[in-house]
């Protein structure tokens, strides 16, 4: 083994980042780290990259290190790309200047071979024509590709990439993987790559699954899927000790049902069962106030938003019907959040018409009376961190003008129904992301709206909590006749929507049911591939 990570733990004060992680890797291997935000992937990367103190031992090519100081010796062989789009780039430097800088701090010789390699990297990344462009003017995908080739310029033998593809458009993602694949073959380097997308597992040689600051399983994709095989059944009624999601039921006890083919995600459900961390069930009560809902809840005609020369949303048409969940999909910077903000009146509309609940919106006054019918949950969960969950909810209820008695009654009902009642007196920072997500939703629906706008509510949340969240949305739809517009950059979540609208650089490139989309591209095995095709088609 060329890389051995032996019982490594990372702490932030008294908080655990990762505990007792063991990883092994050989030359030429691509190793995948899979798990949710806060599961410990980044912490382990920091330890291996020697940028954070850790406990335990890491041995790379027979050199053992136990601290960042000792890790200095391997840093000339190391390439590390931390998580975050364009994080390691300088906004005011051009593409060429970045490569110069990264080459200079690694003291690379500028021989013929160097220039050949540099040119090849630029070509692979599709940046050869943009060498004079400032980093701040690159798209998200281009930024990630530039970060990657800057990390590769000194031909590292140990490559650490922390979520290089998250939020990046499908085509750039595919290109990133091609660069990586070529690099490992040519340079015989070890690549450790973390990802939030399960579908990328097939591109890895071996996988480590992270959950709750631990590595819960490792092996090839096939081995891992096999681990879940014994516990995966076709969807069936089940009383206790099981989780049902996406046409499959997971149970540790034998069930009287047909076995189903597991996926990688199945393993996270099985793990939750093994650790007895079954999320509390969800039970949504019917609306307290019955109201008439028009058949078309929201209609946008040619909605446009410009920021200077940049067109964030370019003439977008969209309809949201009663009892419909529409997914607004796209990479970072596609214009999803801007669109939702226009619907909410948080950004003025530059061009186009907007109808909400049958009423044309042309002034802020038009919105005022509709506010009680709209629910909104923002990307970063707009919660007050110094108020407890209970106090937060009371505050939001009051903001919507609910009477105290009514407010307390609904808070109690929702906290039980959404299964976070035992956390209600804690501060938001002390509860898991999945719980935070649930009570943020509770805050958005306290006033019983008829339409709900959700901006990336599932981003970074673990598989099980995400599954539960989608179930919750479907229950809401059925019991409340609510309409939901939800944005996400996980293409795989398309299958939980009634209809999906795909945005690409501010333009709508698809608006159809998931089933129709799958039919349109019969060769695509998953929604990921459908979107790759869609993106290619619109190039």
């Amino acid at each position: 083994m060329d890389l051995i990570v032996n019982r490594v733990s990372v702490y932030y004060g008294d908080k655990v980042g990762i505990k007792d992680a063991c990883v092994e890797a050989k030359k030429e291997e691509i190793i995948g780290f899979i798990g949710a935000d806060g599961a410990g992937k980044s912490s382990l990367m920091f330890a291996i990259a020697g940028v954070k103190r850790f406990k335990g031992e890491i041995i790379y090519e027979n050199y053992a290190y136990h601290s960042p100081k000792e890790a200095e010796k391997i840093k000339d062989k190391l390439g590390f790309m931390p998580q975050g789009i364009g994080l390691v780039l300088y906004p005011d430097l051009t593409v060429d200047e970045h490569l110069d800088f990264f080459s200079d701090i690694r003291e690379l010789k500028r021989d013929e071979e160097y220039w050949r390699y540099r040119q090849r990297l630029l070509k692979m990344a599709g940046l050869a024509e943009f060498t004079d462009r400032l980093a701040k003017n690159l798209s998200g995908g281009m930024k990630q590709k530039l970060s990657l080739i800057c990390t590769l310029i000194h031909r590292p033998k140990l490559l650490l990439l922390d979520e290089p593809t998250t939020g990046v458009d499908p085509i750039s993602r595919q290109e990133l993987w091609e660069i990586l694949d070529e690099n490992r073959k040519k340079e015989k380097s070890i690549s450790l790559v973390s990802t939030a997308y399960m579908s990328e597992a097939s591109k890895m040689d071996r996988l480590y699954l992270f959950d709750d600051q631990e590595i819960i399983a490792s092996g090839t994709e096939k081995e891992l899927i096999d681990m879940a095989r014994d516990y995966t059944y076709e969807e069936t009624e089940c009383e206790e000790g099981c989780i049902t999601f996406n046409k499959r039921t997971y149970s540790l006890r034998p069930l009287n049902a047909k076995k189903a083919e597991p996926t990688l995600e199945s393993l996270f459900f099985v793990n939750a069962l093994k650790k007895n961390k079954i999320p509390p069930p969800i039970q949504i009560e019917p609306r307290e106030q019955k109201i008439e809902i028009p058949p078309i809840v929201m209609e946008a005609r040619g909605l446009t938003k410009r920021f200077g020369d940049f067109v964030a949303d370019d003439h977008i048409d969209m309809v949201l019907r009663r009892r419909e969940i529409v997914g607004l999909l796209g990479a970072n910077g596609a214009g999803k959040t801007t669109f939702i903000k226009m619907l909410l009146g948080l950004y003025p509309i530059d061009e186009g018409e907007l109808y909400l609940l049958g009423k044309k919106i042309s002034s802020p006054e038009d919105r005022q009376e509709l506010k009680s019918k709209i629910g909104y949950m923002s990307q970063l969960f707009a919660l007050y961190k110094d108020l407890t969950i209970y106090e937060n909810l009371v505050y939001f209820a009051k903001m919507h003008g609910l009477g105290m008695e009514k407010a307390l009654h609904r808070i109690e009902k929702l906290s039980k129904g959404l299964g976070f009642d035992k956390y209600i007196n804690e501060f938001p920072k002390d509860v898991p992301l999945g719980i935070k997500q649930r009570f943020s939703l509770a805050a958005a629906i306290l006033h019983e709206p008829v339409v709900l706008f959700l901006d990336e509510p599932t981003s970074g949340v673990d598989t099980v909590a995400r599954a539960q969240f989608w179930k919750l949305l479907h229950q809401l739809k059925e019991k409340w006749d609510i309409s939901i517009l939800i944005t996400t950059h996980y293409m795989s979540e398309a299958e939980y929507c009634d209809r999906v609208v795909v945005l690409k650089r501010g333009r709508k490139i698809a608006d159809d049911t998931p089933q129709n989309l799958l039919k349109r591209f019969p060769n695509a095995k998953s929604f990921e591939e459908v979107f790759l095709e869609l993106y290619k088609e619109s190039e």
Binding site: K69, K75, F80, V88, F101, I105, E107
Partner: protein, 372 residues
């Protein structure tokens, strides 16, 4: 030390400073502080509105009035109104001082009886009031002294204003502008040094340093040299403003001013370095730097109040901050010109060198090539 690495980092730093237009901050902020504070702080009071109620109307009282009328510090009016009316004028902010010369003022003085002159001063701004008070006292004392000399009476007590010893023309600019240079050269390089490092921490580009073989010392040299060079230019710019805009005399030697200022910039850089170690956000870095440099740079520097007349605690605090030592040498080069013939100046220069070395060593020891 790897020259290539340092060069690459510095080149990047200069490009970034110019393209992000931060370079304007480097050259506009110091001048702005100097000009704004230089004109804004007025310690002396000119043309204060004085109303004299002369109830004596004697030769002596006319002499006294005459003295006030000839002083540039007072705009004197002799009015024939009641005391209450005069007081009302202070309340209405139409007068700053009322002087009441009592009846038989002259007569009592020549009979060696006790007599009093009433002086009412608008005390809304204590510092201004105190200054006006001392001016009134000065005029009255000097007249009495003349009287005593003329009539051969023994003088018991004379008060001299020490503050203006080396500033005979009593110009505020001479007292304030050199001190402001001490303030600016402490604040500005510290902010820039802190920003250059904290910016990388905030954006995440610091990982390029953490995860590469770049040495800590090389990183520090690359980060701090641009700040040092850029602000070295400010030493000259500020001097030019002082000499030609504020017309402050320069009696000492130029090389002393230059050398001391360069060492002082090193101290400022090191303060910025220390700030960058404890902060992760640019805005916090700026605020923290401003707080820890402006307060000593202003209050404990001798600009507003001479160190020697500070209370004991303040006196000790003033000696803990490097500003006082720098300002001592700078005031000397501008106003006195003793240079290093005065042992104190040499000692203070050594103290400054010690500060620079100490802060830099602490800063570079605390800077870690890893995440906190």
């Amino acid at each position: 030390m790897k020259i290539g690495v340092i060069k690459a980092y510095m080149l990047k730093e200069f490009k970034d400073l110019i393209r992000s237009r931060m370079i304007f901050l480097v050259y506009i902020m110091p001048t702005l502080i100097l000009v704004m504070f230089g004109y804004g702080i007025k310690l002396e009071v000119k043309h204060s509105r004085l109303i004299i109620l002369d109830h004596d109307k004697s030769e002596l009282s006319y002499t006294l009035i005459n003295r006030f009328e000839h002083s540039k510090y007072f705009n004197t009016k002799v009015l024939d109104i009641t005391e209450n009316e005069a007081l009302r004028m202070i309340k209405a902010a139409k007068a700053d001082i009322i002087l009441i010369i009592p009846q038989s003022f002259e007569k009592r003085i020549f009979h060696k009886d006790k007599t009093e002159i009433g002086a009412f001063i608008d005390g809304a701004f204590p510092l201004r009031a105190m200054t006006m008070q001392s001016y009134v006292q000065g005029v009255v004392y000097s007249m009495i002294r003349d009287l005593m000399e003329r009539y051969h009476i023994r003088i018991k007590k004379i008060e001299i204003n020490y503050r203006n010893l080396f500033n005979q023309s009593l110009r505020d600019e001479n007292a304030i502008v050199p001190g402001l240079i001490g303030l600016v050269l402490l604040v500005a390089p510290a902010i820039l040094a802190a920003l250059l490092i904290v910016k990388e921490k905030e954006k995440g580009t610091i990982f390029n340093f953490y995860s590469s073989p770049v040495k800590k010392s090389d990183f520090l040299i690359a980060k701090l040299t641009p700040v040092f060079l850029l602000h070295s230019v400010n030493i000259f710019i500020l001097l030019l403003w002082a000499l030609y805009l504020f017309k402050v005399p320069f009696r000492g030697e130029f090389w002393i001013y230059w050398l001391t200022s360069e060492i002082y910039i090193l101290i400022s850089l090191s303060i910025g370095l220390l700030v960058s170690i404890v902060t992760n956000r640019q805005i916090v870095a700026v605020i923290l730097t401003v707080i820890i440099t402006v307060i000593p740079g202003f209050l404990y520097s001798g600009i507003l109040m001479p160190i020697s007349s500070m209370s004991k605690e303040a006196y000790i605090e003033a000696h803990l901050f490097p500003v006082m030592y720098y300002n001592h040498i700078i005031y000397d080069t501008f106003l006195i010109g003793q240079g290093f013939e005065a042992q104190k100046n040499l000692l203070y220069l050594l103290i400054l060198i010690f500060y620079a070395a100490l802060l830099f060593i602490i800063g570079s020891a605390l800077l870690k090539k890893e995440l906190k």
